[in-house]
Symmetry: C2
Subunit: 207 residues, 2 copies
Amino acid sequence: MNKPHHHGDLREALIQAGIDILSEHGLAALTLRACAARAGVSHAAPAHHFKGLPGLTAAICARGYRIFSDLMIEERDKVAPDAFARLSAICKGYLRFAREHPALFRLVFGTKVDFCNDAELMQNSAIAYGILATGCAPFATDEPTGNRLEITIWSLVHGYASLMQNQRSDAFDDRDEALEFDAILGDLNLTLQRNYCSESSREPLIK
Amino acid sequence: MNKPHHHGDLREALIQAGIDILSEHGLAALTLRACAARAGVSHAAPAHHFKGLPGLTAAICARGYRIFSDLMIEERDKVAPDAFARLSAICKGYLRFAREHPALFRLVFGTKVDFCNDAELMQNSAIAYGILATGCAPFATDEPTGNRLEITIWSLVHGYASLMQNQRSDAFDDRDEALEFDAILGDLNLTLQRNYCSESSREPLIK
DNA sequence: GGCGTGATCTTTACACTGTCAAGCTAAAGA
DNA sequence: TCTTTAGCTTGACAGTGTAAAGATCACGCC
């Protein structure tokens, strides 16, 4: 056999195998052995890089959060420097994650992953939520309700994404989801705070 | 052995076993063999009543939806005959389901259950969502946006319940969730529709 | 180049899982 | 009473994750 004994970058290959398997075969197909086989190693090899299946799962989730963040950033960077447009775009990215990566979405948000033992997962999760929080910030007051607005929007987009993805009701049939969610966001009648109004007017000058 | 060969009501016992196992040991402990053992039968006995593990899972979900509906109805029936109070109470029941039955919540909303082959599951699901829809109805206009309001509230309460249950962010630490969600619902500034105003004033006369 | 060490993998074994099929038990109906 | 059918048990098997022993090999030192 001319296959080297040492893979070279097995940890990364296993994570990517997991992402691919989720994408092609769904959540039920994500097993340690499937990932190992796909990476071209024996079924017990992953044990060196991860603390069992839970460890691999956490690492795939951490990667999932990065993909999630990238989609939100991608959508946000497509729109004009307008606070509402930006928030709307970030939510669009959120919905894209659910739609384009259904199994990964379900893994990330539906499984009981042990956060405390994975620094990368905690970091990537915080980054992802931070993107949404910055999208909400222009509309948040300095009062205690400021945090409530963030919870509201987060609950809204997360709930919508979950229900949309489940497609468990006629209510979600045949819809342009991004368009509808935009309308829902509009229904909230979000009010820009005063300090953010002045920043908005300054931005064209910078560019 | 004085144990009868025929259990007598095995289907029901297996479903209840599943509910108990979820409650006591969490979602990962829900196996065919665990349910069979708990019901006092061999591991292959459930195959006569359910189409494998997916069939048992679907039946447990159907039961889960009933528990879900009961909680929403229970909370709704505690409050005054006021449209907003009723909607708020229904949402409180929704959040109670997530908090009091975390594993069941995750099973019902997080697993890919095959709906098309289980009439009871479809029916119970429709009943549950119907309760929420009736809570929204007094605030829905006859315009196409009427359905949007239902989606909005549904997304909101579902997202909030999911995130609260996951407890993945400091944003959800140390909170009275029912109180907060009430405030969030209040933030929406829902407007009663005209026909419902007249019904409200008629109700005391009926009683 | 040889040797030692540690990292990285393979192999083997085992227990748990769901499913299948044959066989057993017993309840219901003729 | 006999036959049929429902309802279960038993045994087998393949797939799963984990543990432990063993093999391979990369690297550094002499």
